[in-house]
Each structure stands twice: as C-alpha cells, then as structure tokens.
Amino acid sequence: MIEFENVSFNYLRTEQASVRNINLKINKGETVLLCGESGCGKTTLIRMINGLIPHFYEGRMNGSVSVAGMDTTEAELYETAKVVGSVFQNPRSQFFCVDSTSELAFGPENMGLPEEEIRERIDTTVALMKIRSLMDRSIFEMSGGEKQRIACASVDTLNPEVCVLDEPSSNLSLEAIEDLKNTLLGWKQKGRTIVVAEHRLYWLKDICDRVICLKEGKIIFDMPMKEFRNLSEEELRRHGLRSINENLSMAPIETGKMNPETITFEKLFYNYRNCDALHIDRLEIPRNEVIAVVGSNGAGKSTFSKCICGLMRGFKGYAIIGKKKQKSRNLLKSSYMVMQDVNHQLFCETVMDEVTLGMDEENRQRVVEILDKLGLKELADRHPMSLSGGQKQRVAVASALLSDKDIILFDEPSSGLDFYNMERVAELIRSLRGQKTVFVVTHDPDLVRRCATVVLRLENGQVVNTNSSGEIKDYGREKEKCYSAAVRICGQP
C-alpha cells in the first residue's frame, strides 16, 4: 500500500538529513506505529506519505514514495488527499471552519462531491464516531479532546484508504486518548491502513500490528507488536522510548518530610456565563512543594491555574501565604505561569534580556548563577525564538526565578515530549522543590510520578481527591492502587 524506495530528505536550510535511505513497505490494512526520540524523522515520514513533503515543506528529496500506486512526490496534494487522510498534533490549528458540521463537510466539498452524498457521508461518520452531540457547534468552544475527535471525523468523511496521524495524543487527556483509541479501532475494522507517529505508546499496544523505530533518520528496528511488547524497559530507554505498559497511576513520589508551612487558598470560585467552572471553598497546600493538578478536559484545570496566577478578571478569592492575605492583584505579582506554548511569553532579543526583564534590580551574579543552573549559560546571547522547545521552557523558568515569584505554574509542560525530554522536565521541576511552590497542570502520569509531592484531582471544578506523598489513605487497599483512581478512565472500571 505504502512503499518507500531509498528515500532521503533534507529540509531547506538544514545541514543534516532528517531521513536517510529509507526502504519500507507497508501492506494494505496494516496498522503501523512509528516511534523514536524527538527529531528522529517520524514526522518527516508521515509528511511524505501525505505529500506535504515535498509539496508544502521544501527541501532536497531523493527516492520515491508511492501510496496506493500513486507517486506522492509527483501527484498534486489534492490528488493525494483523496487517498490519505491526516490528523495532526495540535487540535487548535487543524480545523478550517468555525462550526463542526461545515468542518466535516469541508473535505468532501473540496472533492466536489454532490451535496446529497456529502450529507450521507456526514451522517455515516457521525453515527460511527458517536458525535451527534458535537454537531452544529462552534469548534472554538470545544475542549482539546473534542477538537481532536472532530479532526478525526473530518478525515473519516473523506473515506481515505490510508490514515496517518502525527502525535495525535500529545495534547489529550487520558479520557480523550481512550476516545481516539476507539476511533482508530473503528478505522482498523474498516480495513484502512493506519500509520501513527507517537511518543506515548501504551494506548497503541492493542491497536498496532507493527512497530518501526527510527533514530537519526534511519530505521533501527521493524518488528511485530507481539515482539515489541516483550522488550525490556532498558531496551526501550536505549531508544528513548516511553514504556509500552505505561503505569497510569498518578501517585506522588516518595519523599521524606513535607514542608510544614502552608499556603491556603480561599474562595476559589469562578463562573462562566452561569456555568460553575470552579468551586473550591478552601484549599490548603504545603508551601514550596510540587503540586500536580490532574483531571479530565473541562474539569476546571485551566480556570484553576488562571485564578491562581491572578489572571482571571473578577476573581474574588485570595491566598494566604505566610499569614499575608494576597488578593488577585498580588497573586499576579507573586506567581508565574509557564505556558504550554512558550512562544507566548518570550519577548526580548537575547536570552539575557529576557531573563532580566522582570528583575527589580540588576544582580549580575545571581543571573549568571541561575542561568548556569538551568544550563543556559552558553545560550545567553542567542535569540530566544531560535532555541529548542525545552530550552525555551528553561528560559521561561529562569525569568520566573529571577523575578522572585513565589508560585510557578507549569501548564502541560511535557506534552509531545519523548522519554528523555520528559525526564529532563521532571528533573527541572524537582529542582525547584524547596524554593518555590510549583503547580504542574498535566495529563501525563509519567511526569506526575516523577516530580509531584501532592496530587490534586479536579472534577467539575472541585477538588475530588488529594494525595500527598507519604500519606497513607485508609481505603483498605494498597496506597498505590488507591490513587490510580486519579486516572481511572471515566466510566470504565
């Protein structure tokens, strides 16, 4: 179905080839997992299958790629689009219309199909994916998981023989991943050929038949899923892969003593248009510890984080930090959010300017110290936008540390990261423990288990479960298990 013959590719303005001499044959109806460290060439392969390389992303390409007997390097993109459907990583930037129904119609409309048939196709897709309740709605108001389902549905209406997905689960909660899994199973039953590039592997172990691992643009192994499942953790780590039998428990790390000081938040209430988004009377957390905030999409996590950072207009609650009452305005001064898209918060021309921007007084020595600690010393004169994602994140953390913030909040710091980068983020967060109060809003159990000392689970705007490290809850079960409740996929035992 898909055939790569001796394919190499260099992106424009890069020295290194992103894939080299790839020879690969994927049969009809196969479901293939592409994995490997960040930058190993997974995305490049996906882009070759759907024709975005070389038609959209330019560069130097050798060899040929054929999909269903069609040469994707020669065929125009709209020809390839009839055969290959693509789902991308970012749910925000892959819908073209504002409302869901026109979005589903968008693909078939481009093909010039008659109106009747388009309506039929939409009905079939809606029934198959059980998304009746999402029809005729504004996509801008949907949660990430819902957006991703619409993205899958709009691929489905084109009825492609081949589906490619590029890190589709990066921004999704565990519940939404479960939905995605069901969608893929449905496609598989229809006999479609599916290629998924992913970092989080656990949800694909029952879907994929074959695993291809890449490193530095070369295939290092290609084996059936049966065999792959038996690989040891060490072997997976060697290739920078996450666990296939990912432990979904969100238990905090074992630590000695917790800081006895506390921060108390009171009256954490917030309403959006008559909808109770956040409703917490009182929340006491230990100061200078790492607090993970988990919960499904729409549970109130982002409202919670905005309130804590004092970014919510009309928020009436306050925090008591060391006996001082801090209202919303002071919270804004004493807290800092490291956003999911770090590009939003880098303003200056050099890293040095960036980190000293919020400082009250120049303190050269402290700046150097902190840059050194975060491994940014050599990068001090670079433009922040020229750095890698992880480095940008560090710059944001450095500027928070230097502007003497008490609270640092990370919004999904590990989305779309491979094993090593995730570990690095966890390490960074752990290193802040004891000096700052850190909140980590995340869907990633791996990250929680590596850095959090307290886990808060939000549901419908309320804290439904708190689990502190070292605390044994009396559930009559093992401590570890009791907290896997945090990740028990909604509605499924």
Binding site: Y78, V84, F96, C97, A105, F140, K333, S403, G491
Partner: protein
C-alpha cells in the same frame, strides 16, 4: 462516551440573514453614516440606518454590546445637539465635536462589521461569494481570514496574560516597548498556526481543480427583503439627487 462536563453551546445566532444582505447593509451604512453621502435629503434616514446594526446585534442575543452601543450613539448625538444649541465655542466645542462626530459616525459601521463577522459562518460566506460570482482567488484568502480572526484574538489574549505576569504594562518600566513586546510573539505564533492550518487544509484537498461544492444553503427570506428595501431607499434618493 460523552464528556458531560463541558458541552459547547449550540450555535445560536438568532435571526438568520443571508450574508449578501448583511454585506449590502454594511455598504449602505458605511456610505451614508460614515461617508455622509446624500447630504440633507438622507439626513433623516441616517439615524434609522445607524440603528440597524444595534437591532441586529439584539436579535443575535448580544444584549450587552447592543445596549452599550445604543447608549453611546445616542449619548454622543445628544451631546453634539446640546453643544450646537447652546452655541458653545472654543476648545470644549471642538473636543465635543471631534469625539462625538467620530463616535457617531464610526460606531454603527464598526458594529455592522462586527455583526457580519460574528454571525456568518465561513461556509455561508463562501456560498454567498460564490453566488455573487466572485473568483476563487479572492474567496479562499477571505475565508481564511474569517477563520483566522478568532485565532489571532485568542493568541493576543494569551500574550497579554504573559505580559501581565512579567509586569509589562503601561505604568511599568518597559512601557516604551509595549507594542514590540506584544507584536513579536503574536507574529511568531500566527505564522506557526497559519502554517499548520494551511498544511491541514491542503491534506484535505483544498485547491483542487474540481468545482467545489458547498452544502450550506443560503437564500433570501422575509427579513432579507425588508432589510434590502431599507437599503434601497437612501440609494434611490442619492441617485435622484445626482440625476437632477
């Protein structure tokens, strides 16, 4: 499995009008309210025309915006009338004349544009353009703009949050660079999103050679005829004026 926690509201747009009618209204309102065409003869009609966008916003259930708009519009017109009646002179008069004049003329047009943007879906807009026989080379960029507008607003919001956290504000130390700090990340983010967006659209077959279908049904209803009639009156008056 449905996530019961959060359900986006069904699109509730109130009175549905054909995009072509809205476009006609926009052109008429800008010509006569902002441009002041037609002179004295249309003078009586202008306030009526100016009320149209606010009424439309009311039908779209945007009560707050509509009421603020109405109060501002009538407030400024009355202030201007008051200033004229009392024969005010000097600086105060010019300030009133300037601000009220600008407000009274621009506000209805801006509101009309806003209503057009908010109440029209991309596919309705494309369908209307198709019916007006506008070329695809013009429609596609315009429809992308429609889609892109809310995204830019979203991005700008996040950036201003980031700026607040860094203490970059008008009263702060970095006030002189406030525009630069806002624009640089905004442009980077918009370029990134734009690129991803075009990639996604291309993989779904945009830009093919076949004639694109549109499942969106648009057409004129009673409300459209009423609105078009209203638009016709000042134009007829203008033409009569010119011919004579």
């Amino acid at each position: 499995m449905e996530s019961a926690v959060y359900n986006p509201g069904k699109l509730d747009r109130g009175l549905i009008m054909d995009p072509r009618t809205k476009l006609a209204l926009l052109i008429t309102v800008t010509t006569f309210a902002l441009g002041g065409a037609g002179g004295r003869r249309c003078g009586m009609l202008v306030p009526v025309l100016c009320m149209v966008p606010f009424l439309l916003l009311l039908t779209a259930k945007r009560f707050k915006t509509a009421i603020i708009g109405i109060v501002l519009f009538w407030g400024s017109s009355m202030l201007l009338a008051f200033a004229n009646a009392h024969d005010l002179r000097g600086l105060i008069y010019y300030i009133i004349l300037g601000s009220c004049g600008v407000l009274g003329r621009f506000l209805p047009c801006i509101m009309m544009g806003r209503y057009l943007m908010e109440s029209t879906t991309v596919s309705e807009f494309t369908a209307a353009m198709k019916k007006l026989h506008v070329s695809d080379n013009f429609i596609i960029p315009l429809s992308v703009m429609f889609r892109f507008f809310p995204t830019v607003v979203d991005e700008a919001d996040s950036i201003s949050c980031a700026m607040k956290m860094r203490g970059i504000n008008i009263g702060g130390r970095h006030a002189s660079k406030i525009i630069e700090y806002r624009m640089v990340p905004l442009m980077t983010c918009c370029v990134n999103i734009g690129e991803e967006l075009s990639a996604a659209a291309l993989t779904r077959g945009l830009g093919g050679e076949v004639k694109r279908t549109n499942i969106c049904r648009i057409g004129f209803h009673l409300q459209d005829y009423a609105a078009l009639l209203l638009c016709l009156v000042p134009w007829v008056l203008l033409i009569v004026d010119v011919v004579r």
